[in-house]
Symmetry: C2
Subunit: 338 residues, 2 copies
């Protein structure tokens, strides 16, 4: 369902018209298309992706960079509600993805250049689902433009520039949606910085089997997906993950048993709260505050008890450090709070 | 072997006389004693612990807070070498530990008080080794002094003040040494801030089965242990872990196959580098830089290749945020670099 008519590019906006209305409890399959398809168009672009590139003018791709599919209105959702997103399964659209060591990466100054590395899924199952590993195929220094700073760049394949990766290694696959959420409050904004509405959170745990809860700020919630990833480490150090298009089957509903003021993730083993800030200290403190509140509200602990348990059993992690607004998460075991 | 003659309190100092000389490759069992034993002296102090309290005058417990056992000289170790510490096994000295929500904790201002929570190991194996879980027993607001700001405080047991924990819950046990390392360069310094010499790193992965490598700065290395913990979360949010005395069996040797400029941890699955700083952004950047260098030096990747792999497969985490100098770590799978 990702076409020029069901996608928009580079922003979050509560005024964006919905492309679909669903009843709470509806299961849908939604295509999430990577904005890095142009890094290896021979491997990462198909007819549908090309149509999106051709169909959304460059002037409408701002001020951020991500291609979003949506928004989808959930009937009856209203401000103050909690949207529940159950990520049921994910399939790769094509078995290739791109990593860009970008100008917004942690060490761009030290490297003094940008570089693309193309990854390939290894031992693809015949049903098109995810294998366990991906491998780096080749890399090239990005020279199509001075900087990788506008969305939708297409770099024509240049076999001479593409340098094979030096060693046969693999990385674990961690398919997930880097960007997902609800319409934010306020005016149109860039898709790059994440926030309490979700958006570009870039937590690799937003994968198959996970459930994410968002506070609703607008009638209908305005749910969207984007920035699909094959794999990312906590931190997303060089600026991107393995960026690659995904088909995602998910269920949208309204949660009457969960209340949250920031994206709240549930996996098979843990709850994760999220914090955001201009620096990691601010983000970490917000994630820690959120997890204390979760332990009190959901776990039934006093604040004193929650604070002690959090110090001895909750892990604070770095979500990403490359989206302007940086992120931290705090994980608490289901065993502890149910 | 922890006695007033083999322990010192609150500082790191390359001039501290060694209490033992060992050949490289020697296995020893060393007692690490918690400086929080006074939080529940009826449960956490035995004859040996009391002797240390009585034998080391308060005037010699500064400027930090930790009781250290050591230093141990490793014969032949010289500046530029790498000390290898294999943590072979750990046993609890007593089945109780203390958590202090302290004035240096993340949310002290919000709580406006300090509070002790005593934990107990659950289902102790008959051989005295570690069970899998601990449970909070009771807590009390700390009122012995205005602030928990001098080392070696003893709070006499007060049954009326001890409030039973509200719910029967358990936390996973993660026995480890919060503090361990080599004699640092320069003058005597507080034991509280960690650094490239190790010290109070507070990474809960420094447990049984782990191997830690340190750069050597002084003849003989000057190895010490302290700050034993039953369990801690990444972050050590409230200011302490479950602080509890441990008996640790470890092997000290000189590594000729590893070179490092900061504590370098190897577990069954990962290598972890460590970064330190005045804030998390600085610590994170140092941990990330260290992991890139490890991937180049040990993994044989080019810097370009390492940067891409680190973004998609290395996890950056928050080690602790409560020791003045804060810490981050970066984990890379053994599979990736061998």
């Amino acid at each position: 369902m990702a076409t020029p008519d069901t996608c928009y590019w580079g922003y979050l906006d509560r005024e964006q018209p919905a492309v679909l209305d669903v009843e709470p409890g509806t299961t849908i399959t939604i295509e999430a298309v990577t904005h890095h398809s142009g890094d290896a168009p021979d491997l990462l672009m198909d007819e549908g992706v090309t149509k999106i590139w051709d169909g959304i003018p460059e002037s409408e791709r701002s001020p951020g960079v991500h291609i979003m599919t949506g928004p989808i209105n959930v009937r009856g959702a209203k401000p103050g509600d909690t949207l529940r997103v159950e990520l049921l399964s994910m399939k790769p659209r094509m078995p290739y993805g791109s990593n860009c060591a970008a100008n917004w990466g942690l060490f761009h100054q030290e490297f003094g250049k940008e570089r693309i590395t193309i990854y390939e899924l290894v031992d693809m199952p015949s049903d098109g689902s995810f294998p366990t590993s991906a491998r780096p195929m080749f890399g090239y220094d990005f020279k199509t433009l001075e900087l990788y700073d506008i969305p939708g760049i297409v770099t024509p394949p240049d076999p001479a520039a593409r340098e094979p990766f030096g060693r046969q290694v693999t990385v674990p696959v961690r398919p997930h949606l880097g960007l997902m959420g609800v319409a934010p409050e306020g005016e149109r904004r860039s898709s790059i910085p994440p926030g309490v509405f979700g958006g570009n959170v870039d937590n690799w745990r937003f994968g198959p089997g996970a459930t994410v809860h968002y506070p609703v700020f607008a009638e209908g919630a305005g749910f969207y997906v984007g920035d699909p990833h094959f794999a990312q480490g906590d931190g997303e150090m060089c600026g991107t993950a393995i960026e690659a298009s995904l088909d995602v089957t998910l269920r949208l509903s309204l949660a009457d048993d969960v209340s949250t003021t920031s994206p709240l993730l549930k996996t098979d083993t843990h709850w994760y709260t999220h914090g955001f800030g201009d620096d990691l200290d601010e983000a970490m403190k917000m994630a820690a505050d959120q997890v204390l509140r979760l332990m009190v509200d959901r776990g039934g602990f006093t604040m004193d008890e929650a604070y002690s348990l959090a110090s001895v059993a909750v892990d604070l992690g770095v979500t990403q450090v490359v989206d302007g607004t940086v992120g931290c998460h705090a994980g608490v075991a289901l065993d502890l709070i149910g």
